[in-house]
């Protein structure tokens, strides 16, 4: 793959240019443009229905854009969706591991689908289980796990095949604060290894953990910068207030 660098020499993982998704008269994502750099934690914020999931699904190759262009890990979002899929991990809003399989079986299944060798599978699943402290639970059905553990497991499975980018759609929804901290530790570990993190969230404390954040309002990106500079720009003390100021202008109904 050719290296995509920006002006400052940072490698570009995701580049979206006027990416649009339209359903009939409804424009779910309206000409969104941004770049995400390698190893960056990129926060994607917005009220419910602002178009976050739509945008993310286009970037993952799950949904074809109506217009605009985007490259993910250097691959074209229209023509090279299968190449994109080899290089990304994805954790959807809905918990999507198999509840009727055990922890170990889920790990091996997804690892196997991504083409990990038998040796790699053994090694990685052992390491993953040890990292999550699930040694005693490895042979329990996923259905029996508490939500927080499920989410941590889902994340670990999403990065098992060492993708270059991982997309997380509200990964910590409904999870308690302690587990959320642990979840973000996992995210930081992955980012330290050079994985680009693209994450949507509704928690403003989590927004502060991101390197940069974009805030979507009514299908368009209304703001994009580091949390620090955004607060300066809006002259407020917290991300909460930044979000309120922008989201107040939204015209779309919640939902």
């Amino acid at each position: 793959m050719e290296n995509h660098k920006n002006g400052r020499g940072e490698e570009v993982s995701i580049r979206a240019d006027k990416l649009t998704k339209q359903y009939g008269d409804f424009i779910a994502a309206n000409a969104i443009s941004f770049e995400v750099y390698k190893g960056e934690i990129f926060g994607f914020l917005g009220a419910n229905g602002a178009g976050k999931t739509t945008a993310m699904r286009m970037l993952c190759g799950l949904s074809t854009p109506s217009s605009g262009s985007a490259t993910i890990a250097g691959f074209d979002v229209y023509k090279e969706t299968e190449e994109i899929k080899k290089n990304i991990g994805y954790m959807s809003q809905k918990f999507s591991l198999y509840e009727d399989l055990t922890i170990l079986e889920n790990i091996r299944f997804y690892g196997g689908i991504y083409g990990l060798s038998r040796g790699e599978l053994r090694e990685k699943s052992a390491a993953l289980i040890a990292r999550l402290g699930l040694q005693g639970e490895a042979n329990k059905l996923v259905a029996s796990l508490p939500l927080g553990w499920k989410q941590k497991l889902a994340f670990s499975v999403a990065v098992l095949h060492q993708p270059r980018i991982v997309f997380l759609d509200e990964p910590t929804g409904g999870v308690d604060p302690v587990t959320r901290r642990q979840f973000w530790d996992l995210i930081y570990q992955a980012a330290d290894q050079g994985v680009t993190i693209f994450v949507t969230t509704h928690y403003m404390d989590e927004a502060e953990y991101c390197n940069r954040i974009s805030i979507m309002v009514d299908g368009s990106i209304a703001a994009l910068d580091t949390p620090h500079r955004l607060k300066q720009q809006f002259g407020v003390a917290s991300m909460d207030e930044v979000f309120y100021q922008l989201a107040r202008e939204a015209k779309r109904a919640d939902g």
Partner: protein
Amino acid sequence: MRTVLFLLQKEFRQIFRNKSILAIIMVMPVVQLIIMPLAADYEVKNINLAVVDHDHSSYSRQLISKITASGYFRLADYSATFKEAMKFIESDHADVVLEIPHGFEKKLIREDEQQLFIAVNAINGTKANLGGAYLGQIIRAYNQDIRLELVQPGRINPIPVIEITSSNWFNPLMNYKFFMVPGILAILVTMVGGFLTSLNIVREKEIGTIEQINVTPIRKHHFILGKLIPFWILGNVVFTVGLLVSWLVYGIVPVGNPGVLYSFIAVYLLAIMGFGLLVSTFCETQQQAMFIMFFFMMVFILMGGLFTPIESMPDWARAIAAFNPVSYLINVMRLVILKGSGFREILPHLGIIAGFAVVLNSWAILNYKKTT
């Protein structure tokens, strides 16, 4: 190919972990095969007969006792007038009314001729049809008996009689179970194959796991193979269980080569599962899939030649039946199990079903979209 192995491992684990479904898959065919052929009897018995006898002669009594002794009829009422008997039909207590006129005996002997009146309740078509026919047959037989009594056979029989003797090939005793059981087994295999595949994939859609699969670099045909193979094996198991039940319970042993039967089933299952897959690619919820499958299953079963012969259907219906995979299976099952047909005789059927399998599965793969 390694991907397919991982998919198969996962699919089999899920199947064997879902004990209730497994039990339904195994128990349902056995129970249905034991109960349905016994209940779905082609012979009509217990037809309720109301008799209006205006004659009260020994001849009329003879006729009535001959009818009730046949075993097909149950004397529901012995009414004085036709009007009264009609009330029994209205209240559904009688299916057939037989009216014997005044002077039945006298006129029969003197004038050599007599008329009887039969009224049939046609609400239940089969019962009415057969009931009327049975009654007619009994009366004809009775008529012949009287003739013999009355007319001393001369050198030349005054009434020419054509006697018909028939013999039933491949099912000498006309045991209806011999053609019902293979037919019901055909339907069971179809239901298990079709429903399992369609509901399984739609379930993954509902839970959301399919999205996680769609975001992996998995190849579409690998995914479909991973779904087809386990249910194909299950279908074969159900079929084998069904054959065992027909042998143990009904003593039906295929006259033909079971290998011919299995090679047809192998292709047939691919076709019907391809249909299930195709339905699943159009549906978002198990409810939708269930209703669509149900609609087609009804058509497949009722127009499959199990209950009514396809040959007697109108042209448009026969055209539909030509696209009904079940009709080919029922046909082949009867050909091989009862008639002992070989590979050559079922080759046309096999070719058509193979065509279905190719078309339906390719359509399903094309219609399954990882990116929407």
